[in-house]
Symmetry: C2
Subunit: 127 residues, 2 copies
């Protein structure tokens, strides 16, 4: 397995993701835990949690890498299924959308992976 030791820092980060289904950028995480752990540690733990299948990640419109708990744990959907992500242009919150998206078929092309990002206003910010 990619991560073997349940260190204090790993627990802190796992706990945080237990309590939110939002997609968090490394910047937000390092900020939250600035007193508890080093930013390098945050980067490395997130890497390992993704490798271990606890989290998944995507690149947001600003080029920031965001992590969220594994979608299968979130909604019981097929883990392999691609799902889109949403980012609110008002509050900045980013989240997984519980929708399956399908890849187009393009002659002579193979599609292995996809990323879908929607930008708009979330239910909270839509008043």
């Amino acid at each position: 397995m990619s991560f073997s030791r349940k260190t204090k820092t790993v627990k802190l980060i796992l706990d945080l993701f237990e309590n939110t289904s939002n997609a968090l950028s490394v910047v937000e995480l390092t900020d939250t835990f600035s007193k508890k752990m080093n930013k390098t540690t945050v980067y490395r733990i997130l890497d390992r949690l993704e490798e271990a299948g606890e989290l998944h990640s995507f690149t947001d419109k600003d080029g920031l890498k965001r992590y969220a708990k594994n979608f299968s744990k979130l909604k019981g959907l097929n883990e392999q299924a691609n799902h889109p992500h949403f980012m609110c242009q008002d509050c900045g919150i980013s989240s997984c959308l519980p929708i399956e998206v399908s890849a187009p078929s393009i002659p002579n092309y193979t599609i292995n992976n996809s990323e879908h990002l929607y930008i708009g206003h979330c239910n909270e910010c839509n008043n």
Copy 2:
């Protein structure tokens, strides 16, 4: 208009995009033109060309900003319509896909914008 002067450097970049419909990262461009112009100039020209509607841009999976010629010029499709982008995991080539994609409708959410990225093997690399 956002760009008024047809300088040598602007012509070089426009010429390049005339001859490819691929989506190029700023890094590739600054590399190509390292002897001809400064990287800051590349960044600024691309900014202006996008503002002027000659190019459009998106963020790729690696968080790099990529530019391609405006899609309406490429295929005669509706300029407003969102189209997906493709990146080959073998050769690294990135391109626009001449397909229209539609946004899902999510209760209480407003979707203003979207980005779609497919990763796989292009026709060249599929041999």
